[in-house]
Amino acid sequence: MGELMMGLYVFVLATLAGREVITKVPPTLHTPLMSGANAISGIAIVGALVVTGRAEGTAQTVIGVVAIAMAMVNVVGGFMVTDRMLAMFRKR
């Protein structure tokens, strides 16, 4: 099995797993879900680190560094703001 097919299997199965898990998230948590998902899409930082690490010219380095910064906004901002919101959900 080629790498593409393997990736597609993983993609489809992960989508189904995501669907199973996320349909059960109650509407009251949908905003934290979205900001949390946002933080997870900051996983692009992994790609950004890879391309910056092996950059061969100024253009690639600059693009990579900007990608790192953008992804990092998502990662740090996303997890922090989600935590801030979830801390407010209290039962009295």
Binding site: P27, T31, L33, S41, I45, L49, V65, G77
Partner: protein, 462 residues
């Protein structure tokens, strides 16, 4: 066991923790821990990546991480809860932008184009989806932040123009692969530019009221862009995380569409929200009953059950804290107080719940439409605050502008009190029969002031 196997196992652990973290979001009691697990998963993925790759120069990486981390951290710390939709919108854009840049940087490694193999095709997809997400999210941010008008921007032939634009994007993507005769590098730059334009032109025709759908959809796109970047660099954890986000965004998109009884195609191409096709002159000209804070306090203070229906007007007036005070005072009198929240009550999915949680209203008192709709018939009094279309009984009549939209059946309660500035229509632009019903009292005024007055009067009931 060699080092690369360990790194792969750490990636696997990271992907697993993302799923487990999301699973913990299924209850408010475990959600915070779940978010922590997802953050840990991210940390593991970053550490594994750094361990796996020979980093030639740390300077750029550290600068990028510091700048991004600082911006994100400051934004997350100081953003107001009412501004959450535009912040999430902006973050979506950064996520999409980062994924696009990863694909773009990879592309630059191939002088004659990457060819039509897996790497090439996924580079094009990553660039396209990421760039559309980036520019589309930026427009959504500008609209939500009111830096540009929330009204739909439309022109004749818009859908055809967008269709042609999309065709041009696909054509440049194919040519940028380097399999044809044209200069692939130039075509790739054209692809980037056209994709950015496409993102803008897809979001400008969408009105303010439809922003919850757009934000959700862009959230989904940012995940797909990350997945595409995963295919480009051959990294499973990116593919998996991106797929999770893609699924999450798509589910929320569908829920928002269902909440407005509209198809995704209708939201995307219908230019709804702001284009009222109804004669506004006749609206609000019918007899209705008014009540002041004193009378409303008496209606709420001597009954068994009250359900509050908060709408976006509550958030605009920043009246959540006053509302919580009224709720506390009523509960102290032995009244059962619950909150009924429509799926599209806020500007993004679940937004109203966050605003009420911020005002320290217990989450077990917040109910969604399906949970509470059957209870209205046995409810003594409903207090509608700054909501309109979502409680309009016209939704039950075939042929009305909002026919079929799920509504909160507040008109079935014994008494309905509507706190609102005026009789003016909501986003749908139609009159609301609820306001003129025999058992409805209109309590006019700014929600914050009215709620403060109401709290005072409830306190004085004795």
């Amino acid at each position: 066991m060699n080092a690369s196997v360990i790194v792969e196992l750490v990636y696997l652990l990271s992907a697993t923790l993302f799923v487990v973290g999301l699973k913990r979001l299924q209850s408010p009691a475990t959600a915070r821990g779940g978010n922590g697990l997802a953050a840990l998963a991210m940390l593991l993925a970053i550490v594994a990546t750094i361990a796996e790759n020979q980093i030639l120069s740390w300077t750029g990486i550290l600068i990028g991480m510091a700048v991004g981390g600082l911006v994100g951290g400051v934004g997350a710390r100081f953003v107001k809860m009412t501004d959450m939709p535009q912040m999430v919108g902006l973050f979506n854009g950064f996520g999409g932008g980062a994924s696009a840049l990863v694909a773009i940087a990879e592309y630059l490694s191939y002088t004659g184009g990457p060819g039509a193999g897996t790497a090439g095709v996924t580079m094009m997809l990553g660039t396209l989806i990421g760039a559309v997400t980036f520019s589309g999210s930026f427009i959504a941010f500008l609209k939500l932040q009111e830096l540009m008008s929330g009204n739909p921007i439309t022109f004749p032939g818009q859908n055809i123009a967008n269709g042609l634009l999309f065709a041009a994007v696909l054509a440049t993507a194919v040519m940028a692969l380097g399999v044809g005769g044209t200069d692939p590098r130039t075509m790739f730059y054209a692809l980037i530019g056209l994709s950015l334009v496409l993102g803008i032109s897809l979001v400008i025709p969408i009105g303010g009221a439809d922003m919850p759908v757009v934000i959700s959809l862009l959230n989904s796109y940012s995940g797909l862009a990350a997945s595409a970047a995963g295919f480009v660099i051959g990294n499973m954890v990116l593919i998996i995380s991106g797929a999770l986000v893609g699924a999450s965004g798509l589910i929320l998109t569908m829920l928002m569409c269902k909440g407005m009884n509209r198809s995704l195609a209708n939201v995307a191409f219908g230019a709804f929200g702001g284009t009222a096709s109804v004669d506004r002159a006749s609206i609000g000209q019918r007899p209705h009953k008014r009540a002041d804070a004193d009378a409303v306090a008496a209606e709420l203070g001597y009954v068994n059950s009250v359900v509050v229906v908060p709408g976006y007007g509550l958030a605009v007036a920043q009246a959540q804290h006053e509302l919580r005070k009224v709720g506390d005072l009523l509960e102290a009198r032995g009244v059962s107080v619950r909150y009924a929240i429509h799926p599209v009550a806020g500007r993004m999915p679940g937004h109203m719940n966050v605003l009420l949680a911020e005002a320290d209203i217990s989450y077990d008192k917040l109910f969604d439409l399906d949970e509470i709709n059957d209870d209205f018939a046995s409810t003594d009094a409903v207090l509608v605050v700054g909501a309109n279309d979502v409680v309009n009984p016209a939704a039950r009549e075939p042929g009305s502008a909002i026919a079929g939209m799920p509504i909160l059946d507040v008109d079935k309660a014994r008494r309905v009190i509507v706190m609102k500035r005026s009789l003016s229509p909501g986003f749908a632009g139609i009159d609301n029969d609820l306001f003129y019903m025999d058992h409805t009292l209109m309590f006019f005024g700014d929600a914050k002031q009215s709620m403060a007055d109401l709290a005072r009067e409830v306190r004085e009931l004795g």
